[in-house]
Amino acid sequence: MSKTQDPVAAATRIPRGDVGYLIGAAALVVIVAILALVFGIIRTPALEGLTDAQRAALPGGVAWTEFNDREGCADLMVAQPSGGAESLTCSEQLDRIVGWTEDGIITVAWTDNGENLQTRDPATGEVLSSRNLGGYLDKPDAEGIGSGFTVERSEGLLVLANRSSTVVWETEADARYKIGTLAVSSDGRWVAMTDSAERLLVVKADGSEPPAIWATGVREWSWRSVTWEGTEPPDI
């Protein structure tokens, strides 16, 4: 006769249930899980990484802010032509980027006395200068993807076009695949954009080449768009 250390638990361990119910329960979960994997996963357009030639041709880096849910603060993210995405600093006050000039990355930060316009070092994220605006700046337009670009969909195709209706990118795509925010470089030759697969893509503005993946793990954060190096801030 078997011995046990736990008599009460032993009493409840003895019963073994109906195998039919066990098989039914397992079959239900397995079938639904398979359906979820087959129909639930969004298939994103397969793209290549940036080539050395493309990296050399880019006019500069891009910067953006994204919410860091590990630390509960906003990351100042930068992608340089030579590499991927990197967090320069994480600040609870940091909100969005409005320009990137020779002086540094121009950011807007929350304070109790309205918003501050801060110029930050593009290498370290350190605040170089700060000016209180005495109020709050108007938010960028949350509608659309930015810079007057449009996304049209028909029969499984995604078509990205600029304001002159030039097709910049046309690809087969799942209806749930989305372009996030988008910005045109200061020389007008390149377009950087985020997508729902958490990628930073870059494409030639004339649509002569398909987009390339610049960085991965880029989290979409509402209207806080990517900003190219060489972008002047609005008159403030």
Binding site: A10, R70, S196
Partner: protein, 338 residues
């Protein structure tokens, strides 16, 4: 109780009694033992002592929480790791030490301690993953890129660790607390897996999988795989209904509402047939939730709400009559017995 358990085990192995009979005899003997213990002075004071013990433990934990809350930010990685590991070890050690005590209140306490130790392990995992030193250490061992993980990856890992431990504990401690811990951890695993961007948008597959897990949990309870089955029926039904409600908020609303209604009606039907009032009640709640939504979906104009109320009311009346007739037949068959 121990002798009875061992004998029942032998009789079950020999095919002399069914699983249901084993369960009924065990339940009967446990109730008899509990009633007998209440007649002794020791037995009368046990529940009071247990309640006081839990209140004391809650006060002590709150004090530790306040103390840690004030100083947590000042602690380095080693300090945090040591405190959480020590608390977890104390809980696990206490559960291990007391596990052989035959008294029911102590057995309940062992379950609470064991599940708390699992919670402590989850906390320990969080400390390792969210501290740069811990993340670097994990990276050096497993090369997982933990330093770049976001909250969802950390939450998934914690849930997986806790689910693995709870699922390992539950077969050896078939009681309410381990069962609940296993189910909750499983739901969190499903929720965090389907929160990934690869699944977001369109049909809410995560909610549909939660529905399936809930239904499967109820099926396992009906098949006598869960102990106590009432808790599994309640939690599984709730998960199935909430999963269907959440799924119907996304794409495919039409058929997902019907899926939710079918689940609710199945719960009520099963409850009526087998005289399980808990399932009838949960099913009725489901019907109340889904029928109005379906009718408003079919008749989006103003009259839909009145039709919804009428149909819901009539459905519930039909089921009430069904329950009454079932009870009447059940009573009549008992009286007719020689």
């Amino acid at each position: 109780m121990r002798d009875i358990a061992e004998r029942l085990s032998d009789w079950r192995s020999a095919g002399l009694v069914t699983a249901k009979q084993v369960k009924d005899i065990t339940s009967y003997e446990r109730q008899r033992a509990a009633a007998a213990s209440k007649t002794t002075p020791e037995g009368r004071t046990a529940p009071v002592a247990e309640a006081i013990g839990y209140v004391g433990a809650a006060i002590a934990l709150a004090a530790v929480g306040i103390l840690l809350g004030d100083r947590w930010a000042d602690l380095n990685f080693g300090g945090r790791l040591a405190i959480v590991a020590l608390l977890t070890l104390i809980l696990a050690g206490a559960a291990f030490t007391l596990r052989g005590n035959p008294r029911e209140p102590i057995q309940r306490l062992v379950s609470v301690l064991a599940v708390s130790a699992i919670g402590g392990t989850g906390w320990l995992t969080a400390v390792v993953l969210t501290n740069p030193e811990g993340a670097d250490w994990i990276n050096s061992v497993f090369s997982l890129g933990v330093t770049n993980w976001r909250f969802r990856e950390i939450a998934l890992t914690i849930a997986l660790v806790m689910f693995a431990l709870a699922a390992a504990l539950y077969p050896f401690r078939r009681r309410a607390f381990p069962q609940l811990a296993t189910f909750v951890a499983l739901l969190v695993v499903v929720g965090t897996v389907f929160a990934r961007p690869a699944f977001t948008g369109g049909v809410s597959w995560g909610a549909i999988v939660i529905w399936a897990v809930g239904v499967a949990w109820v099926l396992l309870a009906l098949g006598e795989w869960h102990e106590p089955p009432e808790l599994a029926i309640a939690t599984g039904s709730a998960a199935a209904l909430i999963g269907a409600i959440a799924a119907a908020a996304g794409d495919g609303r039409g058929w997902l509402l019907w899926l939710g209604l079918a689940t609710a009606v199945a719960l009520m039907w099963r409850g009526v047939i087998f005289d399980t009032i808990l399932m009838v009640a949960l099913g009725a709640i489901g019907v109340l939730v889904f029928v109005p939504q379906i009718i408003l979906e079919v008749f989006p104009e103003g009259s839909g709400s009145i039709v919804a109320m009428l149909v819901t009311g009539l459905l519930l009346v039909v089921f009430a009559v069904g329950i009454a007739r079932e009870r009447q037949d059940h009573g009549a068959s008992k009286e007719a017995r020689p």
